[in-house]
Symmetry: D2
Subunit: 345 residues, 4 copies
Amino acid sequence: MLSFENDYSEGAHPALLRALAETSPIQQPGYGEDAFCQSAKEKIRAACESLDADVFFLVGGTQANQVIIDALLSGVEGVVSAVTGHVNCHEAGAIEYTGHKVIPLPQYAGKMRAADLDALLRDFYADPSHSHMAYPGAVYISHPTEYGTLYTLDELKALRAVCDAWKLPLFLDGARLGYGLMSDGSDVTLPDIARLCDVFYIGGTKVGALCGEAVVFPRHGAPARFDTHIKQHGAMLAKGRLLGVQFNALFTDGLYFSISRHAIEMAGVLKRGLLERGCRFFLDSPTNQQFVILDNGFMERLAAEARFSFWGPYDASHSVVRLATSWATAEAQVRAFLDIWDRLA
Amino acid sequence: MLSFENDYSEGAHPALLRALAETSPIQQPGYGEDAFCQSAKEKIRAACESLDADVFFLVGGTQANQVIIDALLSGVEGVVSAVTGHVNCHEAGAIEYTGHKVIPLPQYAGKMRAADLDALLRDFYADPSHSHMAYPGAVYISHPTEYGTLYTLDELKALRAVCDAWKLPLFLDGARLGYGLMSDGSDVTLPDIARLCDVFYIGGTKVGALCGEAVVFPRHGAPARFDTHIKQHGAMLAKGRLLGVQFNALFTDGLYFSISRHAIEMAGVLKRGLLERGCRFFLDSPTNQQFVILDNGFMERLAAEARFSFWGPYDASHSVVRLATSWATAEAQVRAFLDIWDRLA
Amino acid sequence: MLSFENDYSEGAHPALLRALAETSPIQQPGYGEDAFCQSAKEKIRAACESLDADVFFLVGGTQANQVIIDALLSGVEGVVSAVTGHVNCHEAGAIEYTGHKVIPLPQYAGKMRAADLDALLRDFYADPSHSHMAYPGAVYISHPTEYGTLYTLDELKALRAVCDAWKLPLFLDGARLGYGLMSDGSDVTLPDIARLCDVFYIGGTKVGALCGEAVVFPRHGAPARFDTHIKQHGAMLAKGRLLGVQFNALFTDGLYFSISRHAIEMAGVLKRGLLERGCRFFLDSPTNQQFVILDNGFMERLAAEARFSFWGPYDASHSVVRLATSWATAEAQVRAFLDIWDRLA
Amino acid sequence: MLSFENDYSEGAHPALLRALAETSPIQQPGYGEDAFCQSAKEKIRAACESLDADVFFLVGGTQANQVIIDALLSGVEGVVSAVTGHVNCHEAGAIEYTGHKVIPLPQYAGKMRAADLDALLRDFYADPSHSHMAYPGAVYISHPTEYGTLYTLDELKALRAVCDAWKLPLFLDGARLGYGLMSDGSDVTLPDIARLCDVFYIGGTKVGALCGEAVVFPRHGAPARFDTHIKQHGAMLAKGRLLGVQFNALFTDGLYFSISRHAIEMAGVLKRGLLERGCRFFLDSPTNQQFVILDNGFMERLAAEARFSFWGPYDASHSVVRLATSWATAEAQVRAFLDIWDRLA
């Protein structure tokens, strides 16, 4: 069945599958010491304009969030996140599992405000009992957010300024980073992110790879023994090449950016098509995730012919659903979906 | 350079790469709910003659050991392992990281003895202060062991009997299970293991896959909410199909077994060649890992022309090294290695 | 300086100190196996009208919360608490440190509403992605709350009913339980609590003891190997008698209740005195903690002559402060405080 | 019944109980901010000849070991201990519970050898796979050991030298420190320990206090936010004065040393009495714990009239038992025990 359920419904971009097949017979050392990982790291450093960055490859987003946050924090520290942050909601308590509190801040279309962060820190250190509380030890943001929204360059700079003032590392979860960077609504570049964040990752799983997230610590900023942290979390691949080969392909000839751009364009086709049909949007997302409000009856009829994600109730008779395009979405699929819509409407 | 360093030096068996490419465009649900995972699980259940088994796919061995052991144990329990067990040595404290002690027992060529296990438990409960100690809560064995050796069926039955007597789950780490099952030295079958163990995994990473371990809990024996344990450890793939497709291919037409058998045959060619050349073996391994004793000078010359693993010093002038064959080893590679040997000897 | 800063400003009630001195030369086994602990447990069971209760003694409140919650929950579960719950705010992330998320609910004068709890659980299990979330595994309430307020019997029954419906244990933090039970505003008895909760503790530290909390699991309800959980958390006293002797004295001749009642009466004198002086109250607390709103200038002058706790800003020119009476408060101290007030007002 | 079972069978030294009673009415701040703690810290700094030491008070030994080791180590580090170290045996996996491996070394009468420690570290860093292992991050020794034995000053210096060479903190568990310092067999002083260790504690629980261990980090060496670590482990007393008052009394007029000396003298009386009776000793302990070998039949008869600790089987017909004297042991009790012995022999 036609699916706009998420951006990981297909396998991988053909170029990556081809690279995996072609390189397969070549004997290489394990644990990320292979030549493909080295090559991919160089290409990523260049794309980030951060030639001294430490780059690591991890398998998935929750894993990356867990390993990075745990390595950033001391035992008595927690991580600050918008209340809707993925680490606070849909990772089965993975951060708490490693001993750290997620300290929630209000969200605005999925985003954290620098002023809220600053106020939290000011209140924390003003409270005479703060040594009886988990210390804010790092800041987690997602970009695009869980609602498909984007920080502006000014917003990122403001967060950076607060982090500087309070000496906190800023961590950006870029599970869907390509879709943010290639959005018409973005004024943020990859080098901007490398300049403003202490650590971020470039999502592969949702942008054309079978799996994989490229973790970047600009300015040789990796925590000590980060490779052992990876191993200890069971997150180190014996065949690190699986990730190296894929990211090497994604960062060859701008593939990561072109396939991301394609998803944005498909989201545009979908969005315009839905607007023309009078569909209401839950919020204005400039990326590949679109949140729309459907009448419950219509939603059920639609669900019988196409897959999408139920996001939550909107009111007594309406729901919010998410439609996601991806690098793999064909324009014909979008048209087919709109045809179904028309037929059912 | 020619490498016998390990059994994960190449990518994946061509049949798996082909299956990944062919299935790639097919849209499927995420998180292991895809049709490929379901198909692979059925085939694994059949191969285990355990139709009611709970089957899960994880990415790697340390991850599997960590998630399984953590889910098996209560907070005050530890896991019993031979002192050489992978979980006790080379997983960066991954078990302790999740809060559990590894309780060591003596090893005999990498194996644990049932009598030692029974004595440990008897002593533990005889000690009036045992409630001030970590409770033995599960038993971990590897098969083949870290030394390539195998438990006999009688040895496995004896461990099972002790586990039954003390009501402990028996967990078998089968990261190299194929190489054990297809060894001439094995009298243990996959259904035997499913009958005698509470949980085990069928290693894919070292037997032809890019990554992946198939975790089997016979008799619907999975701990409650095991999928959430997986998620919480950052071990759940968004594209679970990556593992499903590969295991589906491995368990089609006996591929897992035939490629495992090939590695055993290549180990045989290597072993016979080395024996003919008067090479001393550190121990008698019936599987794809061979441990030999080399003169240090010779070892260095050899290392300049072929890769292998340094295992440790043997005496002042000799070392133990490991040579591993795999599903990917060509007989020509073994011959080439022996030629190098002859030239250098 | 005269202090109403908290209810743990003095050492211990003289009867407890006397009992410690008198019993000191008597040789007893360690780790809570002593005769004093046994006697105290019997008296507590009788006071709770729960003769089959499992009773344990722990040293302090954060420790009790941590050990109990950790023992109640499986690895993938979190604990539900009002957002103002002590475990969510002022325990330095002690719950998260043991791997468990604190799942917050709205608070109403420090209390959780049964309807909110029910809605949380309904939403949780209705969410198709709930297996990617920390499971609600227990419910934490404090009584009196952090704001000195009390659950009514009907409110407790309503929470119990929700817990029954969803099969969740209900845990009541009674760090100040005596002050709740003896409040004129309470319709809840100790046997009510034993009947309605799965576990609770009777606070000693804040009610006359040097230290100590009596943890009660009615109906033989202690988690397996709870003593080992205690030991593992570093929470087991070699000289368990320190706690046994004190609780034995507290539950002899109703001392726990009479000294608690005294604190309530002193709070009444204080409250009436402040009301007569036109003092505004932040909320209406029926127990020994009183929260009042002070002009910032007046607050500073007062702070120079008497100790109290700053609770937070109220508006630009006012603050909320807490005044606590205790078992040790003399009426003369309350009068002296009111005299200072009059002099400064 | 007469008991030599351990050194915590009584309550507390009368001077401590008196101090607790006398200071009880004095209002003081909580959480160790009281005047008694401050006074006790000054006296301890003076006794250690370490005026810039950071001093904290914790409740018990397992708690102290857990909090200290967890605060010393990063997430990927373990602690090195003799295999018989308390942290490796009788703390219910408390160290592993906080995520850290205990890395065992051989023991010699309970002691670790500097040469073994150095060899461990050399081998660790020589192993090319050491980044896949838990890093040795601190060294734990007990003094007196679990067998009552003592490090010589030269042995301590040798351990210090290895720790310096590998930049590891040296942690000395002094749960019975007084009995070591006052032993005729000791050439180590408290200032020596403060000079040679990065952290140690002065045991109170087993040396006259109801509870309490004074943790000393010489040279302002406490880990950052150590008070929050204490709070997070549930180890912070609301009434910190309980520990401050006791340690203040113990370090007034040399009480800690004189009562420790008394226990040593009583151990001497016991030891000489047993030697005269031909009793065999399991090892030669110069402190208050004596380990003797008893015929099993005799042991059972003795156990019917006096308490002692069973330590383990010696051979088929003999056992090792521990007899402990303490600050509270009266010479008449030793004589009475020897009389029982004579009667039963």
